[in-house]
């Protein structure tokens, strides 16, 4: 893969950004051109048309217990970094050394699975 091949990724990002932006822009343009009616009322302006009304703002202080989950996420995020080159090579390794390459990753993931088991055992995954 050469850098130019990533152009498709860039195209996807541009498409993804323009998809939500386009209706907003078109709506504003139609309003400026006086082609769109504007009659706001409380029900229309509600965040949800149905469901539970939200209370307060989203800016409240988080519970400190969430931090352990963030730390756990970081650990397994770094694990993915190490497994990614392994996974890219798996197509060729599966032909030359099928069991050995899987065993190498299994040992790697096994050590971290031990950590997950320890976290589970210590009740770190529970909400207390």
């Amino acid at each position: 893969m050469i850098p130019a091949d990533f152009g498709r990724v860039g195209l996807l990002i541009i498409l993804g950004l323009s998809f939500p932006a386009l209706p907003l822009v078109v709506s504003q343009l139609l309003l400026r051109a006086k082609q769109r009616p504007e009659n706001p009322d409380p029900v229309k302006n509600a965040i949800y048309e149905c469901g539970v009304e939200s209370e307060g703002t989203a800016w409240g202080q988080f519970n400190a217990r969430y931090y352990l989950f963030a730390l756990g996420f970081v650990i397994f995020d770094v694990e993915v970094i190490f497994l990614y080159p392994w996974a890219v090579n798996q197509a060729s390794l599966a032909l030359t050394e099928p069991l050995v390459s899987i065993a190498k990753a299994a040992i790697f993931m096994g050590v971290l699975a031990f950590g997950l088991a320890y976290a589970w055992r210590r009740g770190a995954l529970e909400w207390r």
Binding site: I2, P3, G72, F73, Y84, V88, N89, K104
Partner: protein, 171 residues
């Protein structure tokens, strides 16, 4: 990097990175600053791709845009609302001085270094290929022990985090 699309993408992503880095400095709300920081990280990952360092780009997305920004968001959301102000920090002047000095050093090093640039005719057969396959082969071949030891390091970090949090709860 002769492809005009790649060159254009490099400058576009550089612009996004620089502008969002400035926005981190300029916005008043700390959480908005974190969001702009994530945008700067993503822009940097894009720059790595245009420089043919695709593994570095993946690492940048996963570690910085993923893990580091999660930690920063949590750090902000765990602080009381009143302290979430990005303005009038005592560290503005020292921060500008340190960042300016560091940028100057990097620029001087970049100019002074003999980059050993390949000649045009050598670039022909050294077509840019993905770096991930080579990194994977090295990681699972000669450096497989380091690969496995890395999992032990991550295990130590995980257990350390659990022990620290549990100690605090008991106290």
């Amino acid at each position: 990097m002769d492809n005009p699309g790649v060159v254009g993408a490099f400058y576009l992503l550089s612009g996004v990175t620089v502008l969002s880095s400035l926005a981190v400095f300029a916005v008043r709300n700390l959480l908005h600053a974190v969001v702009f920081l994530v945008l700067a990280f993503v822009g940097m990952a894009g720059i790595f791709i245009t420089l043919s360092a695709d593994f570095l780009a993946v690492a940048q997305i996963l570690i910085y845009a993923g893990a580091v920004s999660i930690l920063l968001v949590f750090a902000v959301m765990l602080t009381p609302l009143a302290d979430r102000n990005n303005a009038n920090s005592l560290f503005v002047l020292p921060g500008v001085a340190v960042a300016g000095g560091f940028a100057t050093i990097v620029a001087l090093v970049a100019v002074a270094t003999d980059w050993n640039v390949l000649a045009e005719e050598d670039l022909g057969y050294r077509s840019f290929a993905t770096t991930i396959a080579d990194i994977g082969q090295a990681l699972l071949g000669p450096y497989v022990l380091a690969f496995e030891v890395a999992s032990v390091l991550l295990l130590a970090a995980l257990i350390g985090a659990i022990v620290l949090v549990r100690e605090e709860e008991r106290a």
